[in-house]
Symmetry: C2
Subunit: 500 residues, 2 copies
């Protein structure tokens, strides 16, 4: 029996959500292509993200930068020195392993953050061997995960592919705060590629070497960290989270997070916004969502406050990180100010200040992966993705019941009409039941069927994906009915006449 | 006196259209950042492109792929062997030059496509020297312009940054034609990054090492190259073009291009669509637009028909390439079929066929650069970008006339309202005339001013950018008036009462 993970991957590849990049040459681990459906889903997620987080404050803006960056950037950011994974390899079969993960899997302990020496000692003391061929493992070495790129005709300029999109806003901060003539806080977002030479990218589509991030870096006055404009609106809102030292999750009101747990208001406001994004916009069931605080040992030394956003994914065996909210202090602008020699402090009403950074960081591919896990459903005669309608790759499919009697002509007319506003698909092949199931399988929210009744009384059948309920709507009104449904202004069953 | 080019660059940097990437570390030639305004402009251009070209045929779709690709891809595509620039360097100061451009500039001849030996001979015979320091030049060598990336813990996998987005659809073709269950033609588009190690990327923002392409690869049955679905609609449409052997441009009806000049209907249909995109959607003046046929010597050997789309750009001294329409035959699928061993032919109604490719290739950054050149205007008291309203980075700005008397509160309310549908900017600082000019400078189409009259009769002033005309509109109706203006359903002067 195929696992859920295998079933989803099969659909993803067969229908065009995603598949290995350059697969006709054999896949290289960690590189994937978004097919035509995956691209639509990704764009919808990204636009929803923009619409949510860029609208939190009129001072939040998006920029778009190069992914190839000068070496000096990563000297200042610390990536050249610190962005390492501990590597061990098999002396016999040459397989390579992330040593911390290997030790942690073999011994069932938390090995994240241990030094190469400590990991080597654990491997030797416990006589750990190659999981592939039982050969002897090498001593553990640090391995830098950035990809180097040599630029210039003689390769004389050493540059790197950015390992996180975050560096772009830090580099652009000085230019943008001047261009925008705004006071703090200033938010600069990037939706773009980042690259990491992962040692062994196993988890399919979840851990990639080339991936897309959606990140918002907010530069703010550290003296105002306990202020949030819209605090009143969220004071009573309950955040679902697990503290580092707690055994289980709890729900705590924002007000209490601030007063009892000492989390600053500016941080808590963005926590609430992220939870609303997942639960209200993406419609993730609350039981599958949580913030998880990282312990001091787990988190980067410059992160003063760090909660991951985790979703419980059946295909990956539990809660997995899909985003993070990091209070990074002055680590970033401080490092670049020192490294570049450019002053990066700004004038506020009363003083000069080097802004601190709050980072909202989302792995786009991981979120897509999570959506496909969470909304995948199996029923007796069909599988479906019950995506919220704002996310479904295709909004609507249009079908002539049969390929004769002028039904295709009428259906084509309706297809052209609804295509003006919606992402539509026209399908004529196979029985109508089979065509419905093909669209259910990829999560298309509505179907419109043109039948013989249409030629008599001008009405068409509109079918809703999850309930499979059908209503009759005048073909003249079908576009406006769809608009109302997508705006949430109409209830499906009342949007037309019940089917006899 | 600053040149037009310098003036536009100054505005671009100061206001946040674009600026050198990582500039606090000193710019690396060929790498640029899109600031907050540039990002909006780029996204609007890209969405307009999607809305135009993906809607030409219900069989045209978008995909999204990795930029890092296996070496074998470029063995098959020919890039490893042929994607070279001839390089010469100065033995004294080490400056490097594209030898064909150096020879062509020095001797005023067409040196594109000459062999390294021929170029070396021309340099020696004409005693050409380093333009920077008058030193001696080296022999000309071939230089591959792809960036190499070493993947895996030991760098054991050699990959490359794609030099053109086109390879992604070729690699995905087999998967997508099966997933989509469609017949030919099938179009696969990519909007994404590509990378070229240009020897000396001088022309500022126009020739980049990291750049964005918007490309549509159409796979079609070569036996149907002289068919086009909507031929009747464009038969009489006149295309403006310059043939390779002609001295000047001419306008020729599609029908005649087919019957007299032998250009196939499928090619001509896409020519007409591209011209409509530039002239009707982007509103480029016709005198600045042309197709230019490349001679056999200029074009790649596999391109059977090749017209560049050129715009006449004052800042770059004449007609420059911003896009291309290439009939590439079976070069691409043929090469990948041979290299990968995968069958890439498909079944049509009557036979098996290896599809041919028609490529629509647009340089996104070059198009942005061109828009800023073409729509830049200088008037007595202001400069402006007279972008068509579908392209202006900001749709509307909202101003309280003065910062007192409850005007800011009312203006803020209107700002919140119009922000729901439009990209809006709120500005309170400086005289109203200065604020208008600041928005004109970045091309914001409309301005809404709240003044004392607003508090009395509820009307606001709406100002149009190009004409600077003003009308009074009820503040309750300002959102719906804007909607009508942007949909092209209202004439500005008649959309409100004339200002007294």
């Amino acid at each position: 029996m195929a696992t859920k993970s295998e079933k989803i991957l099969t659909i993803a590849e067969r229908r065009g959500f995603f598949y290995p990049s350059a697969e006709i040459y054999g896949a290289t681990a960690g590189f994937w292509t978004y097919g035509h459906l995956g691209t639509l889903l990704k764009h919808k997620w990204e636009n929803l993200w923009r619409d949510t987080f860029l609208k939190l404050n009129p001072n939040y803006f998006e920029i778009d930068d190069c992914v190839i960056m000068p070496e000096k950037v990563f000297e200042s950011s610390g990536h050249l020195e610190h962005f390492n994974d501990p590597l061990t390899s098999c002396k016999k079969c040459n397989s390579r392993f992330a040593a911390d993960k290997l030790v942690s899997n073999a011994l069932g302990i938390e090995a994240d953050g241990l030094s190469p020496e400590a990991l080597t000692k654990l491997i030797r003391e416990n006589k750990l061997i190659c999981p592939e061929c039982q050969g002897e493992l090498s001593d553990v070495k640090q391995f830098n995960m950035m990809f180097q790129v040599k630029v210039g005709a003689l390769g004389e300029i050493t540059m790197y592919l950015r390992p996180e999109s975050a560096q772009s806003p830090y580099l652009a901060f000085k230019r943008e705060i001047e261009a925008l003539r705004r006071k703090l806080p200033l938010g600069l977002a990037v939706i773009g590629k980042a690259f990491r030479n992962e040692i062994s990218p196993r988890q399919g589509f979840f851990r990639l070497r080339e991936f897309t991030q959606a990140e918002l870096q907010i530069f703010f006055d550290p003296d105002k960290i306990n202020e949030a404009d819209k605090w009143k609106e969220i004071e009573k809102f309950k955040v679902k989270l697990k503290f580092a030292d707690a055994d289980k999750e709890q729900e705590v009101a924002c007000k209490e997070l601030n007063s009892k747990y000492g989390l600053p208001k500016f941080y808590v406001f963005h926590m609430a916004s992220i939870q609303k994004f997942y639960l209200e916009k993406l419609q993730i069931p609350k039981e599958l969502f949580r913030f998880r605080e990282l312990s001091e040992k787990e988190r980067a030394f410059y992160n003063k406050i760090h909660f991951d956003i985790e979703l419980n994914l059946e295909t990956l065996g539990g809660f997995k990180e899909v985003a993070g909210l990091h209070y990074r202090g002055d680590h970033d602008l401080g490092g670049h100010q020192k490294g570049s020699g450019e002053k990066l402090d700004v004038v506020t009403d009363t003083k000069r200040v080097l802004p601190h950074v709050l980072e909202l960081s989302f792995g786009v591919d991981r979120n897509i992966c999570a959506l496909m896990d969470i909304f995948y459903k199996e029923e007796k005669e069909r599988t479906l993705f019950s995506f919220p309608q704002c996310l479904s790759p295709l909004d609507v499919a249009v079908y002539p019941l049969v390929n004769r009697d002028n039904l295709p002509e009428k259906a084509q007319e309706i297809f052209d009409e609804v295509s003006k506003e919606f992402r539509a698909f026209y399908d004529t092949s196979g029985s109508i039941g089979r065509r419905y199931r093909r669209q259910d399988e990829i999560g298309t929210k509505y179907g419109i069927t043109v039948d013989n009744e249409t030629l008599k009384d001008g009405t068409v059948t509109v079918r809703e994906r999850d309930s499979m309920e059908q209503i009759r709507v005048s073909s003249d009104e079908v576009l406006s009915v769809l608009k109302k449904l997508f705006r949430g202004e109409a209830d499906f069953k009342k949007a037309g006449k019940p089917l006899k």
